[in-house]
């Protein structure tokens, strides 16, 4: 499908953040009137690519990028959002860029308000002192809303409107820009109901028919199939494929999105395999109020002795599960361990019930960075279970001090067992490497002698070698100490490597559970919201 004219070309885009390459030689182009879908997992580089296109400050404050952007065949420098708008690029943001205190009209015309001169603005020659031309603003807003077939009063405040409307107002704003020829939709349907999403896809087609080139970013592959003319798949910052619609199949896209070679290692066997007959933890209708990782009614049963993986795209709530059960974010629902109810929103009680947590926020929640290794290992056990304490003076058992000797001995044992590379138990954890810090976090959880261990993003921010060690450690804990492990990770590869089952979370609910050797396409589809109910 070769068309002569390209309204936008991005060629050989490479971007590094602090030495990490997040985009490597990515190219994409757009023709007028075309809908080009950009798909990829979280962290594939879609947002970075769009930030570059939109001239966001975050790009230029981190050293810019290499490669070039051409609009109508001419090279352009997009150094600010204003420059991008000037060049005719409009963006419908994933997060609403709407001011709740303003009316719909004010939001649509935000910073593009038509104005009228007055005596003072003429005198001082300052357009900042021009009056706002409210009637014209309303008229323009009305026209834009009509173009989207939206009959809402344009003078309503945005606060209190249903979410679906907000998305359309966002689009109306871009439509209202006369100069816009390229429109970027960043996951516009993520917050919409199905009917609203259908309506939005209709608007998309209508706009494309008007000759606007549309770049459509989404996770929902059926939407891609419904509207896209061409499809570009990004993975790990590289373009893995560019397909025309007629050669694209959902399964193929899903596979391309996720596809990684999974090195299957032989895991040590167990005496008895975990099964549904022996359930360690039951989660019913869990709601967790964790910003950005909201859990909206998740139910899940965890088999005793298994390693259960929890995967899913960022923002769909996989991180909220452990944080909610452990009481770090406010939660509701029913969680029971061996039929014993686990109180929610009470971190101290949960720890007493034999649950422990290795947080994804290692440096914030997980560790006291300036404290030595031994105290880090012991602190939770001291607080929750009164371990490593001795009464002082002896006749006052209520007064307890840290038992340095016991703590030190335990820390040394842990350092040996987990192979923590350090100068000794006195070393402050701040000076340890990421992998060793993670081991301290695990040791800290082990000091509680948990039956069930939650581990979130255990390999985030540590180097490849250390990743393997941490994963091996989790397997050893599971096999040798019979700890049930619930591991949450953004890296599907590592989940599939060590888990017995992998649960995929989509929009705060369980989408399904897959065996680790399920195909890439199956994982991809499930993460993209193609619900497959049958459990394994």
């Amino acid at each position: 499908m070769e068309r002569a004219r390209r309204v936008l070309e991005m060629k050989g885009i490479t971007k590094q953040y602090f030495g990490n390459t997040v985009l490597n030689d990515v190219s994409i182009d757009l023709c007028p009137g075309e809908i080009h879908a950009l798909v990829g997992e979280n962290g594939a580089g879609k947002s970075t690519l769009m930030n570059i296109l939109f001239g966001m400050p975050v790009i230029h404050s981190t050293g810019g990028f290499s490669g070039e952007i051409l609009i109508d065949g001419e090279k352009v420098e997009l150094l600010s959002p204003a420059a991008a708008m000037q060049a005719g690029i409009g963006m419908v943001h994933q997060e609403f860029m709407l001011l709740p205190g303003f009316t719909i009209t004010e939001n649509i015309k935000l910073n593009r308000e038509p104005t009228r001169k007055n005596a003072l603005s003429k005198l001082l020659r300052s357009e900042f002192l021009d009056y706002l031309d409210i009637p014209t603003m309303r008229k323009d807003a009305r026209t834009a809303l009509d173009r989207l077939d939206l009959s809402i009063d344009e003078w309503l405040p945005v606060a209190g409107l249903p979410v679906g409307y907000m998305q359309f107002i966002e689009i109306a704003r871009e439509v209202d820009k006369k100069e816009v020829r390229i429109l970027v939709f960043d996951e516009p349907t993520a917050v919409l109901t199905e009917t609203e999403a259908d309506r939005l896809l209709g608007s998309l087609r209508r706009l494309a028919a008007d000759g606007i080139a549309i770049l459509f970013i989404t996770h929902r592959l059926d939407e891609v199939m419904a509207v896209a003319d061409r499809i570009t798949v990004l993975r790990d910052g590289e373009t893995v494929a560019m397909l025309n619609r007629d050669e694209a199949v959902v399964e193929r896209i899903a596979e391309l999105m996720v596809g990684r070679k999974v090195e299957k290692v032989e895991l040590p066997p167990r005496d008895t395999d975990p099964s549904d007959k022996d359930i360690a933890l039951t989660i019913n209708d869990l709601l967790v109020d964790m910003p950005g990782e909201m859990v909206r009614g998740l139910s899940l049963s965890v088999r005793r002795g298994e390693i259960l993986g929890i995967g899913g795209l960022a923002g769909h709530g996989k991180l909220g599960i452990a944080n909610g059960i452990m009481g770090l974010y406010s939660a509701a629902g029913r969680v029971s361990k061996n039929g014993d109810n686990i109180p929610l929103n009470a971190p101290d009680q949960v720890l007493l019930k034999g649950l422990a947590f290795v947080s994804e926020d290692r440096r914030g929640v997980g560790l006291l960075l300036n404290e030595p290794i031994d105290r880090n290992i012991g602190v939770t056990a001291m607080q929750a279970q009164h371990k490593f304490l001795r009464p002082w003076p002896h006749f006052l058992p209520a007064l307890r001090l840290e038992n340095r000797g016991e703590l030190r001995a335990y820390a040394e044992e842990m350092i040996r067992k987990l192979d923590i590379r350090c100068l000794g138990p006195n070393q402050p954890v701040r000076s340890l490497s990421g992998g060793n810090q993670q081991k301290v976090c695990v040791a800290k959880a082990l000091a509680l002698e948990p039956e069930i261990l939650f581990v979130s993003e255990p390999t985030r921010g540590i180097d490849v070698g250390a990743k393997r060690l941490v994963l091996d450690l989790l397997v050893r804990l599971n096999r040798e100490h019979n700890v049930t492990i619930i591991m949450t990770s953004s890296e599907l590869g590592e989940l599939r490597k060590i888990c017995d089952r992998v649960a995929i979370v989509y929009r705060g609910r369980l989408a399904g559970i897959l065996p680790p050797d399920a195909s890439d396409a199956e994982f991809g589809l499930m993460m993209a919201g193609r619900v497959r109910k049958e459990a394994i």
Partner: protein, 376 residues
């Protein structure tokens, strides 16, 4: 949260309920202060003409200072404790004008002219600092005020005399270094007030001063109708969105600070010409606190403040200021109790307003999360 769970209709956002509970809940602070003022005025057994005289004088004296707070609130920078910097600029220029011996309205206007660039530059610097302390503007502006006070003292205690040539025995401390603690502003005292001050029903009305305050209200109202005002409001609601929409956030915030500081400088000049003496090292110190307290008493919050609230706040706060020592005198025989009470009230109201601000902020966030959880 306890509302019905049915999805919000489009109309519900507009529904302004007018029941009394709603009015009391949303205007609790001004109503409380009105009640307090009336009670205390009755207790003190005040002559109404006297009270009206006092309140009008204070309205003329203070309203410009309180109005200077409005623009930063609109720009989302909270209550600008940094208006003391503007006050210092005003004082510096009044000292210069007094030294040059320029009298009357001419002297006052010259002081305004001098304070404007001084306040604009210091306001610009303050704006630069606040742009590096986004989200913590209030505490930063307060500390900036203390810091500026240090520089002010350095200049007027140590540099005036040896470095800045000011040769006036009447204004310098006996050893010839530093400005005296009190400077008699005989040249410009009441210069504005006495231009036209008719007495109506026993009440003296400083018409020109009041007109200037009214003029400032008109200017601010005008500003809010312009593109600049729209930018200020947008930045005030959400800096990130404004930035993405191409509004120059940092520049807008700096403009807000400059305007606020300049208006505060003029406000301090009006204040001083009414009082007639300058407490060189103290006059400016309380300006921030008392102006902010007055604005909050008028029902404003750290995120929303209107001209009406500013004017109403000045009237209520200063009514209380006038009546509370007298009520203390009448009730307990000690005016200090009333005095204590009004200082207590000034700080207390700021503390309550800031706590409410934090609490409401959390409430709004919770609401938003709950909403997000319900949408599915």
């Amino acid at each position: 949260m306890t509302q019905s769970s049915e999805p919000k209709t489009v109309e519900s956002g507009r529904n302004v309920s007018l029941d009394i509970r709603h009015i009391i809940l949303t205007n609790g602070v001004p109503i409380l202060f009105l009640a307090l003022s009336i009670t205390m005025a009755l207790v003190a057994g005040l002559n109404f003409t006297f009270l009206l005289n006092e309140v009008i004088t204070r309205l003329a004296r203070n309203s410009l200072l309180v109005l200077s707070l409005l623009i930063p609130v609109t720009a989302g920078m909270g209550l600008n404790f940094g208006i003391v910097i503007g006050a210092m600029a005003g004082q510096a220029s009044v000292i210069a004008v007094t030294y040059w011996g320029i009298t009357g309205v001419r002297g006052f206007l010259l002081a305004c002219l001098l304070s404007t660039p001084l306040a604009a530059i210091t306001g610009w610097l303050a704006g630069l600092v606040l742009n590096r302390a986004k989200g913590r503007e209030m505490i930063t502006s307060m500390i900036l005020g203390f810091f500026a006070n240090g520089i002010y003292q350095l200049i007027f205690l140590f540099l005036v005399g040896p470095i800045i040539p000011l040769k006036s025995a009447a204004m310098l401390l006996p050893q010839g270094i530093g400005v005296r603690n009190t400077v008699d502003l005989i040249n410009i005292a009441q210069s504005l007030d006495k231009i036209w001050r008719p007495v109506i029903g026993g009440v003296r009305i400083p018409v020109v001063t009041l007109l200037i305050s009214f003029g400032m209200c008109v200017i601010i109202a005008f500003l809010m109708k312009t593109k600049m005002g729209q930018n200020l409001r947008a930045v005030g609601q959400d800096m990130n969105i404004a930035e993405v929409m191409g509004i120059k956030v940092d520049k807008t915030r700096i403009i807000a600070m400059i305007l606020s500081t300049v208006i505060a400088g003029w406000g301090q000049l009006i204040f001083l010409q009414n009082i007639g003496t300058l407490n060189t090292y103290n006059s400016h110190e309380q300006v921030g606190m008392f102006s902010i307290a007055a604005l909050l008493v008028g029902g404003a919050s750290t995120r929303r403040a209107t001209i009406f609230q500013a004017v109403a706040g000045v009237i209520l706060f200063h009514t209380l200021f006038v009546v509370s020592p007298l009520a203390g005198q009448r009730l307990f025989g000690v005016p200090q109790i009333g005095e204590y009470f009004r200082v207590f009230v000034a700080y207390g109201i700021i503390a309550v307003a800031l706590a409410l601000h934090a609490w409401q902020g959390r409430q709004v966030r919770r609401e938003a999360i709950r909403e997000a959880m319900l949408t599915e």
